[in-house]
Structures are given as structure tokens and as C-alpha cells.
Symmetry: C2
Amino acid sequence: MSLVETDDIEGGESLSLHQRILSDIREKILSGAWAPGHRIPFEHELTAQYNCSRMTVNKALSQLAKAGLIERRRRSGSFVRQPQSQAAVLELHDIRIEVEALGLPYRYERLGRVKRRSSAEDRALLGLSAPGQVLALESLHFAGERPFALEKRLINLSAVAEAGEEEFLDIAPGPWLIGRVPWSEAEHRIRAMAADDAIADALDIEASAPCLVVERRTWSAEHPVTHVRFIYPAESHTLVARFTPSQG
Amino acid sequence: MSLVETDDIEGGESLSLHQRILSDIREKILSGAWAPGHRIPFEHELTAQYNCSRMTVNKALSQLAKAGLIERRRRSGSFVRQPQSQAAVLELHDIRIEVEALGLPYRYERLGRVKRRSSAEDRALLGLSAPGQVLALESLHFAGERPFALEKRLINLSAVAEAGEEEFLDIAPGPWLIGRVPWSEAEHRIRAMAADDAIADALDIEASAPCLVVERRTWSAEHPVTHVRFIYPAESHTLVARFTPSQG
DNA sequence: CGTTTCAATATGTATATACATAATCGCCAT
DNA sequence: ATGGCGATTATGTATATACATATTGAAACG
């Protein structure tokens, strides 16, 4: 039995050997041909089958291991792992891009801007322990005539002092921060909520109508940078997440 | 200027060289010391600084490139990328695990089970073009006494024939499918919705109360396998997604 | 019979080397 | 000037090799 013809007569697809080994093995696993627990051929066997060096095989297998598709055990070999905990990559677009993708004109409007000493709630949201200055912003993103999302944001001025000088009248805080502050970690919370009166008013929807709430906390090298809460009317928004295990 | 002392006197942390190069460069980028656009040292410079071979440096840089932190251009060098489109990894736990993590007893109850020829709507949800048999399931997941989530699922029997023989009285379709059908791709849609009467009744909440809806479509090697819609009462559920760029 | 020891084995990491490929720079001829 | 061409350069991919390390299985020993 051989995984491939060593002399590939047909599709000389200009795939690198590395890529070919990767996709061959992925295919075997995803098709179910190699069930979880199955021992995949030893490196030296693959070396022979693909007629290449062990380093090339090793790189491919290491990558599959890092992607979580296989598990490698010294002296024992490499094994197909149990189905992984399902995880999906959730792309969190810029709202402007999202709106424009819908073919609607985008408009941003700053509602409020307050610089203040952090309240206990501010600190809780940002994950701060010591008090300090924060900037609280409230703004609306429009798709055409209609409000698309309400944004409530806190910025930790100890981490991003320059934000204190910015009015955010013409630029939304999201794009402003991106590119200025490299972020090392982010956390999102997604939930449904009934609109309270203030939200309903801002978004021009009925009170207690369902909304999708996306909260994001961002850190840069351990320091909390910002906490933001996007509130979308239920109709206007669906988050899409896709997942393909271990691509390339 | 040198990234590290070539003879590391202090922390001989038993980190592999590969790991050390990776984390050094990541640190520079995430701390902002190397801003987006900055050209990071050429491979041969890093080779000299770390006193190692180019292959080792190359492997580290390739990994950073694959993680999206840097961009490599032939003849020009490697550059710190603009902040990536924000993406987060959303873990989609098994509901049983989620409930038990809350310290509540988990219970599953099948509400309905119908085997039928796929309707146009079924095909649209599953992404099928040709008609065929599908299994429609409706079930409830409980956390303690209270309904935690309502599940509405379609299974494509052309892809998973054995599902037609299963009653799903004692095992939820999710766990049943996992481990039986390897999935190669999944897509999620997350949105908020007002509970209609049927949903409100099943979940024991008020009509038009806000709910979080998570829809998932799963493929196995191009074939649609299942479409499932989880409906959570707003209070009971928050999805959490975390992201750290390019972990080693 | 149980334990220790040792050799065999598969993976982990690193090196030196080689050639391919793409992009850029500068030279040269038009 | 300007358009093309070749040399240069940095990365991309692969090889052969070497030694480290963890684990297993079997032999040796008390």
C-alpha cells in the first residue's frame, strides 16, 4: 500500500512536497479513512513513500500536530486525535466595512464623550485594579438612514494617553485605536438582550426588542486598553464564523 | 544592537532556540517596539545574532508569517504587518459540558423526531441541491430544572444513513454525530431573536423575550451533514471568544 | 518473581548545504 | 529620459546528517 505514486504522472500541480504530504494526510483523516486512534505511518515510512527526506516529512507532521489533527508520541509514532473541541474563527470586521459590504452608505456619529476618573464599574469592565483616568465614548454607526449599531466604549487613558486629546468627531474610536495600539489579546462576549428605553431610542427600535450585544476587551502586553460594547438590533446583524480544521 | 546575548548567562530556561526566536520577535512586535511596517532583521542577521543556522531562523519566521504577524517579501525582507483583521477563536462546547461547568445537573429530552423527504426549506438550510431523506429532530437541554437550550436539527441521511436508525432518546444528536462523522468544515451564524410562542413555551420564558440563536452547518468532505439551530434564553447564555495572535 | 538496566526506536531539534524563485537595483543601449 | 536585461539579493524548499530525548520492550539481575 502506498499513499501516492512516487512518480506522479498525472497532476503535477506544482504543489510543494510539503503541501502534498499535508493535504494527503488531512484528507485521510477528514474522510474518516484513518479513524481517531489510528497510527499514521512512521516518518521513515512516509520518507520512503514520498521519496523525500525525513525533515520534509517531519515538518509536515509537526504542522499537523500543531494544528491538533494528530498527536505525536516518541518511540510510539503519530496518531489521529479524537475529534477536537469544536472551535470556529469569528471574524470581527470593522463596522464601516460591514456596512459598505451591504452596499449601504456608512456614517458615524459621536453622541457623547466624557473624560473622568474611573468608577468602580469602569474598572470592572476594563479589568483594571488601580484607579485612573478613562475616556467614555458613546457613538452611533449608521447604514444609510438607519442606525446600525450603538457603541459604548471605555478607553484606559493610562495605556493610551493620546486618546485623551482626540475628539472622535470624525473618526470612530475603533479605527483610531487600531494601528495606534498593537493589541496582544482580546476577549469577546456575545449575548442577546432586550433593548432598554435608551437603547431603543438611540437605535430607533421598539423598547424591549431583541438586540445582539458584542462586548470586547482588549489588552496590549498585559495592560487593559479598551472595553467596547456594540449593540445591534436583531434584524440588522448576524455574526458569521467559519472553521476548517488545520488549513495549510 | 543585538536581540539577545549569544551566550545566555542568565535564564537557561531550556527553551529551544526556535521558541526563543519566536517569542523574542513576538514580544518586539506586540510591545510596539517594532511598529507595523518595520523591517525585521534579515535571516542572515538573525543567524548571526542568535548564532544559529539559517534554517532555524527561517522556520521561526515562516511560522510568524503563517500566524499573520509578519509579512515576508522576497528580495526585500520581512516586515511587521498592519494589525490583522480581528479574529477570535470561538469555542463551541458541548452543551452538556457547558451546563456541568455551571455546576448544574444536565438533562436531555427529545421532543420530536421525523424522517421525511427534504422540503425546499430543509435543502436550503442544509445547502443541498438534490432532494433526499432527512431526519428532523427537536430537543431540549436542561440545566437543573430549567430549560437551557432548544435544539432544532436536520441531519442529511444521504450523508449519515445510520442516523435514520437512531431514536436519539438517550443521546443528543450532537455527541452522537461527533466521533461518528468527521467534519471538515463548519459555519456558524449567531444572532439575536425574539422568542415566538412555540419557543417561549418550550423554554419556559415569556413570548418575545430576547434569545441568542446559534446556527451551525457542518460539512464532511464537501457533503452537507447537519444543520442545527440552538436557541438560548438571553439570560442563560453568553458566548465567549478569546484571541491571542500567533501563540507559539 | 519483581525490579533494574540497557539497547532499540521514533520523534525533536539543529546544522550545513544546495538550488529555485521572485523582486529589485543599476547598467546599458536605444 | 526610458525601456529592457542581467546581476544581486532575500526568501522558499529540500537534502543529508548529527545528536538529544523520551519511551518502550526485553534482557539481566537480585
